[in-house]
Symmetry: C2
DNA sequence: CACGAATAAGTTGCGCACGACTTAATCGGG
DNA sequence: CCCGATTAAGTCGTGCGCAACTTATTCGTG
């Protein structure tokens, strides 16, 4: 038995050779791991990401939010409506530019931050990477994102 | 100026400290990069993954397909219906177990494989990783998936 | 200042993704 | 052999994610 495992060739069509699939599977698995934690906060995973941005910098526009998260207004607009309906934020047209909408946290939205503090720790534990592996993974993922976005 | 950059603490709520966000962003960016290529084949990205599995092993059940891709029947059933409507496969109840449905490629579905050969190469080029980085990324992503799935 | 181009947000349509549930067939212990 | 438990596939409802488009506002150049 000289070869029990095929050499993954450059243009393989085998699912398990595909980095893209490893990425897709990992992303969904991590999101699934977040789900029960975020359920307690009444948030979905994309809503949680929006809240992370707003806790960092309140009163930003939909456009700026989209730039941070790499999401279109067609995704964000309905999502923000749901967060507004849940009492976490308000949306108001900006006086200085009526095209723009400022997203502002309510007291409730700002307060949720404290309850969210434990979430990244719990997820970090679940991922079980060493600090070095974590940093390396982030670095590689950002490199992929940068290379794949644009030319 | 002793510190121009904050040390990302264990429980940071900053978006850019989150590995989960790097993962989510990379996954969507890669899928977006696939889109124009897959459009020419008349496939979405999840449909392409299903076809990868079927090109590897034809005539498998929905359950086996779900195990390979980590997807529920509630996701696969409608997706497979669309692929059937597009003439790429057929679904037929198995005689030996009437609960199970065998997915079989049509001639057209099998033939599409040749047109798909160039896709992984093009994506590999776009990601722009060295073979070592590619292997390392896959390894880390699988580790994350494994750790996060289960206990 | 006028007016076409650009920009911001939102709407619509479609295809995932998944939880909760349903239906139908098979399994397995008493 | 029967009947409750399990299993396979599918339906339904909700929330993304994005392309294509619309509406309203602002910009910029003649």
């Amino acid at each position: 038995m000289s070869r029990t495992q095929a050499e993954p060739s450059e243009g393989s069509l085998l699912l398990d050779d595909q980095l893209c699939f490893a990425l897709y599977a990992a992303s969904r698995a991590v999101t699934a791991r977040y789900r029960p934690l975020l359920d307690e906060l009444g948030l979905t995973y994309p809503q949680y990401l929006v809240m992370l941005v707003l806790w960092e910098q309140d009163s930003i526009s939909v456009r700026e939010l989209g730039a941070s998260l790499q999401l279109e207004s067609s995704t964000l607009s309905p999502l923000l409506k749901r967060l507004e309906a849940n009492g976490l934020l308000r949306r108001e047209r900006r006086a200085e530019d009526e095209r723009s909408v400022a997203i502002r946290l309510t007291g409730e939205g700002a307060a949720l931050r404290e309850r969210a503090r434990s979430v990244p720790v719990a997820i970090g534990d679940a991922m079980g990477l060493t600090p070095e592996q974590d940093a390396l993974a982030k670095q590689l993922l950002r490199l992929i994102t940068a290379n794949v976005t644009d030319g």
